[in-house]
């Protein structure tokens, strides 16, 4: 359904305002050398598994961009990710399978359009379509696109409420004048800080992580104790006082093995606190300079 012109215009204004630099927009019109293929990862996927297309010559992209801006961006958005009237054409099956305009052409010129859309007919010649294809194919095609519109900060909570929560749930073990003194300076990235305080055991820079401690009570009553190296149902290994790793066989409940994970109190909060609690505590901790 065609929406009212007013809503449409407002939506388009919003869509234009949020355009960031796609690969094509950055490079179009500049005499950029052909980009080197991205380094390939060892296993798994991500963007490198689908090499981006070689860029068309700059003059082709430049002409294509001019056509696109004049004729297409109004509906499909300046970044081709779609607007109120037109679809996202970066992920379009027609565009993805197109090489140099041969699949795009019928949609544009023969009035075939796309089912269920308002796509009108255009009278582009073959060269113009090739230019348009060269421009469209310069957009990065990838769901994981870290260069997109990121929020400026993850700090969205209320520092005062965070201080109150801290007093109730954290102050028994931690002190802002003690172990957490200057934490907001020591870890400058708020998201890193938030991840670390939720579970310091997850590791990472800025916070020294403590290992679980294990206490093993042998059948003769002897107690062995040290930082846990590993445990499964059959063996438990710890670092003894002299630095040597010692492994003890387990058989069900014998010997008795007690684990103390220093971050267990953190884990036990997962089912308890709300996202707001988390945001508030982070908003408080970032102020501890």
């Amino acid at each position: 359904m065609l929406r009212s012109a007013l809503i449409f215009a407002a939506a388009m204004a919003a869509s234009v305002a949020i355009v960031v630099n796609p690969v094509g927009a950055q490079n179009a019109g500049k005499n950029t050398p052909k980009a080197a293929p991205a380094p390939l990862p060892a296993g798994g996927g991500g963007g490198a598994a689908y090499p981006q297309r070689p860029l068309a010559p700059a003059d082709v992209r430049s002409r294509g961009e001019a056509i696109y801006k004049a004729e297409c961006a109004f509906c499909h958005g300046e970044d081709a990710r779609g607007g109120d009237m037109g679809n996202n054409i970066i992920r379009s099956q027609i565009v993805l399978n197109d090489d140099s305009g041969e699949r795009i052409a019928p949609v544009l010129t023969r009035g075939e359009g796309v089912e269920g859309t308002m796509m009108p007919k255009f009278s582009f010649n073959q060269n113009q379509i090739a230019d348009l294809a060269g421009f469209l194919h310069s957009f990065r095609v990838n769901g994981y696109d870290g260069s997109r519109n990121r929020p400026e900060t993850i700090v969205v909570g209320n520092a005062q409420a965070g201080q109150t929560f801290f007093g109730q749930k954290c102050a028994a073990c931690h002190a802002v004048t003690g172990d957490l003194k200057g934490i907001g300076t020591r870890i400058t990235d708020a998201r890193t800080l938030q991840q670390r305080w939720i579970n310091p055991g997850a590791g990472g820079r800025g916070v020294a992580t403590k290992q679980s401690m294990v206490t093993i009570t042998m059948t003769n009553g002897q107690k062995l104790q040290g930082p846990l190296v590993r445990i499964d149902d059959f063996l438990v290994t710890f670092t003894a006082a002299d630095g040597r790793q010692r492994t003890v066989k387990r058989d069900g409940e014998t010997p008795k093995v007690e684990l103390k994970d220093p971050y267990q109190p953190h884990r036990e909060l997962y089912p308890v606190y709300t996202d707001k609690n988390i945001h508030d505590v982070t908003a408080y901790l970032v102020t501890l300079k």
Binding site: A14, S15, I18, L40, P41, A42, G43, G44, G45, G46, A49, Y50, P51, G77, R81, G82, N87, N88, I90, R91, Q93, L96, N97, V114, E115, G116, V141, N142, G143, Y144, D145, R148, N149, R150, I154, V156, G157, R191, Q194, Q195, I198, N199, G201, A202, S212, L228, R230, I231, D232, D233, F234, V257, L259, D261, R267, Y270, P271, D275, I278, H279
Partner: protein
Amino acid sequence: MKLLAGLLLATAFASAQVDSKLLLQPLGDSWASYSGDYSGKRYSNLKQVTKTNVKNLTLAWTMRITPGAQANNAIVGGEGDGILSFGGGNNIKGAVLQVDGTLYFSTPDNAWAVDARDGRILWHYFWKTRGATHIGSRGMGMYGNWLFFETPDNYLVSLDARTGQERWHKQIAPLEEQYFSTPAPIVVDNHVIVGTGNDLDEPGILQSFDPETGAVQWKFYSVPMKAGDPGLETWANLDAAKHGGGQMWVPGSYDPEARLYYIGTGNPSPAYTGIARGEGDNLYTCSLVAINVDTGKMVWHYQTSPHDTHDADSSQTPILVDGEFNGRPRKMVLTAARNGYFFALDRLTGQHLRTVKYSDAVNWATGINAKGQPVRDPAKDHHIGGSLVSPANSGITNWPPPAYSPDTGLFYVPQNDNYAMYYLTETDPRGAMGLGGKEEQGVGSLGSYITAIDYKTGKIAWRHRFPGNNGGSVMGLLTTSTGLLFGGDLGGNIVAYDATNGKTLWHSHIGAVSNAPETYMLDGHQYLLVASGDALFAFTLY
């Protein structure tokens, strides 16, 4: 005597081929398809290894693979230039077929035949890739002397099982649309049923290929693809539906009487920023669907995650069970979804019978609706400041196969009560594409388990908790008619458990187990076969 020997020989060689009769047999001497048999139970009728003698299992052989073209005598095929390498070839994460003394298995871009008696490589086939995500290969399908496997860059390759020579290869889906293929093909009569995957915004496809010619017999899309298609009303518009995902990553199960193939579909796409999908349920993503194997038409569906927003695909292996429910005999399909909920349905009608929230950690839903479906809590989708959600992206469970024993009536599933912070990283009101728009950072687990669910009562019969808090997950399970349950643990052991209570009975430390254990019979001995990364280990009783 000579005649008898000749007859025995003839019998032995007759079974070298996989036919419909072998495929229809309940799991026993052979392992002829992904789950061993069509039911998905991974319940073996073999009886030699018992709770009493399992402690005597001993290593028969081990072997290690060398993926790639550089391996000795590799048969090389493929459409790529041979330069691209994406790894993943040295990790066995799927099923190993055992047919007449030969094992057949695959990793991304590689396939092998191995002597089941000593692990000697008979042939190795290597595929030169064009690219794509190389995350895993769930194994091969077999029909007659023909093998079928899927390559990451979306080709169905058919090999001659005797020699490893390629018969043909056919494209499953365009690499240009960023598909990648992990499933094991499933052979049903003269259909080779093939799924694929995608992390951009392209539609889920299940296809049937002709085993002889490789011609496409039918194609089923898990999302509406044209005006008038059912389910379109659950999407913002046709373009959203056609880019709505619903991938079929993991093979399904099959009921030969109903001629229905049951498969779980993947998450809707874009996965996290679902604005462009509309507010509807986004059918038929995150659903269990029943597909007629002859026509490719969907007979019923049940959605296990309406309008998912956490990439929590429902592509777990469904298990077909004939049993009692509320005092009445039922043909059922059971599934434990990645989202932390277990479902029992009537598999002929799709009627919902039971939902069990099998993880206490799960917090993305506010409850269960009248249809038995979890109700998503939009506040737990994600947040600019982060939202603490269980499960983490990897799910309470994932592709590793569950198992079911008709003797105990229990459904066994790997469970990991993991949490992650989901950060919204896309302020564009149109959202992102594919898996974009959020960054998920794990904060660990409250515990990992093997969990035994009693579908009749909806209760957890037992949980075997792994010590510590390392948050790993078991890579799949096998159960037997002698009351055993096998699976790798989180410490690098292959373990035999008592299926009635989860108590450990035997273990061997072989390194991190990377697939679901299997069992078969050879020369009068029962074998246990399991993979650890690039190695296979075969145990037996002498």
